[in-house]
């Protein structure tokens, strides 16, 4: 199995480097660069051409593209992700400030959504075309339809009117002030969790529906097992694999994809960091973040595949 894991990880290297390269080239196609933004500000005021040339040289932007890319890649190979061109601090530091928050929201939202989704999806499937099914389907399709920023605005509106809520100025760590931290993050977690619960519920419902028609489920019924045993032991166990895939994919997306939620709740997370870095043409930061998100994606996919083998002994890895 270890051999399999190592092989999978090595196979992913080209994709990761490719992703970084695509982003790198994309960022160089953008009109304007960070030197212009630093000197001219967002409005692009008076720009002294000599100063611009000097700053570009200072930031290493005057080197040929391949030199810029490979020197960054060489740094990455030594776990040195470079410095942010905008703030001048190490990219790793900047990320470590924001990663705990993004991870916490992603993990908590995934847990919340899974806890809601699997029971709901299963019930909807075994009671197909009854009112329970219709309610679950409408609520879950609704979850997909409600834009997360609107849900966020409504939640904040509700909190402001009824609880005199104010957006937190600073994020407190989960380990130092667990209670306060939870109070800060519970609303973003719930608003994201509901949306992703909708995705998982739909997946659970359709896979359970498919499995319920299998021969072994009919056999289980014929043996006279109670409904609970048929559903949990025979149907759900077989239906769960695609559901795990979708939970894994969602989790990977949650790390970098929460731009909108972070904006609404003024959270300083990875998603916002990415958007700001793109806006500032801060290439080392963007590349490193893309690498991070892609890595999470790859590792989660690998874990899902390993989980498959553990849950389903028929699957083995060579």
């Amino acid at each position: 199995m270890w051999q399999y894991i190592v092989k999978r990880l090595l196979l992913m290297l080209p994709t990761l480097i490719g992703a970084a390269l695509v982003v790198f080239l994309l960022m160089h196609v953008v009109p304007g660069d960070i030197a212009l933004l630093i000197i001219g500000g967002d409005q692009g005021g008076d720009i002294n051409p000599q100063e611009l040339v000097k700053l570009r040289a200072q930031l290493g932007l005057n080197q040929p593209l391949y030199v810029q890319f490979f020197s960054w890649l060489w740094g990455v190979a030594h776990l040195n992700f470079g410095t942010s061109l905008w703030t001048g601090t190490s990219v790793m530091n900047e990320i470590m400030i924001r990663l705990p928050l993004s991870l916490e929201v992603a993990i908590a939202a995934t847990v919340v959504s899974t806890l809601i989704a699997i029971p709901l999806g299963t019930i909807a499937a075994i009671r197909q075309d009854t009112w329970v099914d219709y309610v679950v389907r409408v609520v879950s399709i609704g979850g997909l339809a409600i834009p997360s920023f609107w849900a966020g605005i409504l939640i904040i509106l509700f909190l402001v009117i009824y609880f005199d809520w104010a957006p937190p100025l600073e994020f407190v760590s989960l380990f130092r002030h667990p209670w306060e931290n939870l109070a800060q993050l519970i609303w973003p977690i719930l608003s994201v969790g509901y949306r992703y619960a909708a995705v998982t519920t739909r997946m659970t419902r359709s896979t359970v529906l498919e499995v319920m028609r299998e021969d072994y489920v009919r056999t289980a019924w014929a043996k006279g097992l109670r409904e609970r045993a048929v559903v949990v032991k025979h149907a759900l166990k077989n239906a769960i694999l695609p559901v795990i895939t979708i939970i894994g994919t969602e989790f990977a997306f949650l790390i970098g994809g929460l731009v909108v939620t972070e904006t609404v709740f003024t959270l300083n997370g990875i998603g916002r960091f990415m958007v700001d870095a793109i806006a500032h043409r801060d290439i080392p930061v963007v590349q490193t973040l893309v690498l991070l998100i892609a890595c999470v994606f790859v590792v989660v996919n690998l874990m899902v595949d390993l989980l498959y083998a553990w849950l389903d002994p028929r699957i083995s890895y060579r």
């Binding site: 994709t15 197909q128 339809a145 609107w150 605005i153 509106l157 731009v259």
Partner: protein
């Protein structure tokens, strides 16, 4: 285009009254798929609103009237007015145009692009397939919204660029699914037969592979429509999509709405409701369409 008539199968009554037949089909759809029918009704309503916006909108979309700033919902302004005194209902009505236009064009472009890539990738196979799939993997590694955001930043803020930015993330998602359908279609004997009688590769792809991928293509297209509307709203909300004074639902929620939410909650509520309703309609319809077209789910007990 004339309505296609098919020869009656044995045991089937000839279609003497095609109009009745059409109504019967709609009636059957409503009875067997009530949720899908509800979705279709929402879509039709939205399309009508978009087309007839000039007729039904009570006010001018762009008219600014500072005296009417933040008028609460009333008989004159059913959904109130915004910080510039513009009628919210009027802007929501015109917003249906923007949402439908951007949603339709971008998901059609994205799904078609993905389908073309998927069919070529599956049909050509070998190294080409491998390289195309790696490229799709790279695109898939980005969260949808982040990719769209990056593209809009690169291209600049305009409606055509917005459409491209929403369409591109759809491509790898469609390409994957279409490729797997096309792979199994390629194995059919008639594909080999078509090649044997001298059909060109393009002809084989168009006449024998493409009909086989229409079902997944349509499913993805409808599924993407809702998500395209959401992406447009999110980008506009973040200030990277449509620009003022375009009446876009996402834009109506950005800037002013959260800031004045306490004072004028209608500004925060109604545009969001419009987005949710539209996406809800497309998703309901798309779901039923999938149930109807997906052979795996068709024969339900």
């Amino acid at each position: 285009m004339a309505i296609a008539t098919r020869p009656a199968r044995p045991g089937e009554r000839p279609q003497a009254l095609p109009r009745h037949h059409a109504w019967g089909a709609i009636g059957k759809f409503v009875r067997t798929k009530p949720l899908g029918a509800a979705g279709a009704a929402i879509i039709v309503l939205m399309a009508l609103t978009a087309v007839c916006a000039d007729l039904i909108a009570p006010y001018d979309v762009y008219e600014i009237n500072q005296q009417l700033q933040f008028t609460p919902p009333s008989l004159a302004h059913w959904l109130g007015t915004d910080e510039f005194g513009r009628d919210v209902l009027t802007r929501i009505i015109y917003g249906a145009r923007i949402a439908l236009f951007i949603g339709l064009v971008s998901s059609f472009l994205g799904a078609t692009g993905g389908a073309v890539i998927g069919v070529f990738s599956a049909y050509l196979g070998g190294k080409t397939d491998l390289w195309i799939q790696r490229l799709m993997d790279i695109l898939l590694a980005f969260p949808l919204l982040v990719l769209a955001l990056a593209i809009v930043t690169v291209l600049g803020r305009s409606i055509p660029n917005l459409i491209v930015a929403i369409a591109i993330p759809v491509i790898p998602r469609t390409a994957r699914i279409v490729r797997s359908s096309a792979l199994s279609a390629k194995e059919n004997v008639y594909v080999e037969a078509a090649r044997a009688v001298g059909s060109s590769h393009l002809r084989v792809m168009w006449c024998h592979i493409v009909p086989n991928i229409m079902a997944p293509f349509l499913i993805i297209l409808t599924a993407q429509l809702g998500s395209a509307i959401l992406t447009e709203a999110a980008l506009s909300f973040l200030g990277l999509g449509t620009a003022e004074p375009t009446p876009s639902w996402g834009l109506m929620l950005s800037g002013g709405a959260p800031m004045y939410a306490e004072k004028a909650p209608w500004l925060a509520i109604f545009p969001g409701l419009a987005i949710s309703l539209a996406v809800f309609g497309f998703n309901l319809f798309g779901d039923s369409l999938r149930d109807a077209l997906d052979p795996k789910l068709r024969h339900r007990t």
